[in-house]
Amino acid sequence: MSIRRQCYEWRNVGESNHFTITPPAVAVNDCDDVVLNRYPISAVSYKLGLSSEKIFWKIVPIAPNQVVDIFNGGIGNNLDIPGQLKAYQFIVLDGIAVYPETFNAQVIVNTTRYFQDPDGVPSRLGGVSGRVVPYPIGALSSYPPNPNRAVQLQNSIKDGLQPPIIIKPGDRWSVEVKNNSSSSFPYGTEIQIKRGTDRKVARCYIKYLLIDGADCIVAQRLIDAGWPLTVENLWRYKQDLIKSHLYASMAELPEAIKNARRKV
């Protein structure tokens, strides 16, 4: 039984297969593009640009118009299985952010895409863009390549997704990012990408409230009654529940019960 504030973060970072500085020498491209159930371990690469180069930091490029599922897309940190809610779980997804500014993020619940164009078709750009919801707030734009000319990106949706997306027990859900730039991301020469700073790392962040156990039943009651699913409302419902039990215990008993012969 709990209400927990959760977050999940995806990055297009791979991992070297040979995480040691000692021989055997590591081939330049001997890296995994995907790392399951954790984040990749990285380090500054060894003798970059020389024949004895060893790569310990790998940013996986994302092609123009490529769509990547942040849970199971085969790039960066991934999960074993798709996101699916158990029978006693609710998710209230109220925050999403993406970087760089040319990337878009789309939330998918079962077969429905959340963001759509005015004609009712799922967003052709692939959802909300990193210009609207940059991650993190205040991040330097990825373009132009010169960091001195970059601008700081600010969040345009201050309150997050309101109303939030409610994902119900048994629902499958995922988040996709799409590169809407005409060139592969990260931009730059090979050596610039190999020495890439945070400006060259694509990332997506989601924030949600995970309601499980007995609180899931309370959440269902709130939905049935048409109340917004917020922490405050869940608390309020539980308070009322306790209060009504207290009142019930103080209520006058019906005559028949009051006068009934007591049994031991």
């Binding site: 504030r5 977050c7 040691t20 954790r38 990285s42 500054v44 930091w57 074993d80 699916q84 991650y135």
Partner: protein, 259 residues
């Protein structure tokens, strides 16, 4: 008896060596990456002197309100000065909260995750930073529970040092940091906090102080205390009944005595 806002920070600085394995043996000063370490009793950084675990005493009640850590992902976010000292490092750190054996953060497939990153909840915060992540609702840690805050670094500083990009990591360079903010309810305040939690009322400084005021107000009633509360409850019940009638949402039960 007190309610105290507490701040705990964990930091790790350089050891005045280059950080290479030959100068600083593996695992002696710098935490190995990819493994969780405690900020309370771990083997690295400025942990508490006694390295006690975070056991909440029987007359304590803790409400954790915020966790943050150093932001950044790329190991190439480092900076060196003119003397080739490392003056900035990006640890790629995540921070997690563990109550007894339960991990607070879990990923969408419902298994243990590394926690919240420094991008989502940055520390130290710069003027441009605005955290995305807010620990709401806060976490209650009850008496006799054990709390632990653990960090995981995903950038390997010592392997990076082998690249020869810097010659020294001075002890003035903060390499990674974790920040925790919580409210500590002690003694009778902890009892009141527990009572409020059992009643389903959020435990905040305001609600605990309000509860205390109510208790002080009823002080001196002695044997009449029970009657006082009973009467208070009855009058509240009547008020709610009247309110429901006025709002037109009363049920047959509310009209029982009138019909």
């Amino acid at each position: 008896m007190a309610i105290r806002k507490q701040i705990y920070t964990w930091e790790i600085n350089g050891d005045n060596t280059s950080g290479r394995l030959a100068d600083s043996p593996y695992g002696t000063h710098y935490p190995p990456p990819g493994i969780e370490h405690s900020i309370l009793y771990g083997a690295y950084g400025n942990v508490q002197d006694g390295r006690q675990t975070g056991l909440v005493k029987e007359d304590d009640f803790i409400v954790i309100e915020s966790v943050s850590c150093t932001p950044g992902i790329s190991p190439y976010g480092f900076r060196v000065d003119s003397a080739n000292n490392l003056i900035k490092w990006t640890p790629n750190i995540f921070v997690n909260i563990i109550i007894d054996t339960t991990n607070y953060y879990q990923d969408p497939q419902n298994v243990w995750s590394s926690g919240v990153s420094g991008f989502a909840s940055p520390y130290p915060r710069q003027t441009r930073d605005e955290p995305y992540y807010e620990l709401w609702p806060p976490i209650y840690v009850l008496p006799d529970q054990t709390i632990d805050i653990r960090y995981t670094l995903f950038n390997d500083l010592q392997l990076s040092a082998e690249s020869g990009e810097w010659e020294n990591i001075p002890d003035s360079t903060m390499l990674a940091a974790v920040y925790v903010e919580y409210t500590h309810y002690d003694g009778t305040d902890a009892m009141m906090a527990r009572k409020l939690m059992n009643l389903g009322i959020p435990v905040t400084v305001g609600t605990v102080e309000n509860y205390r005021r109510l208790l002080l107000k009823s002080k001196g009633l002695e044997t009449e205390t029970f009657d006082f509360y009973l009467e208070a409850m009855r009058s509240e019940r009547e008020r709610r009944k009247r309110e429901r009638k006025n709002q037109g949402v009363a049920t047959q039960q509310d009209y029982d005595g009138d019909l």
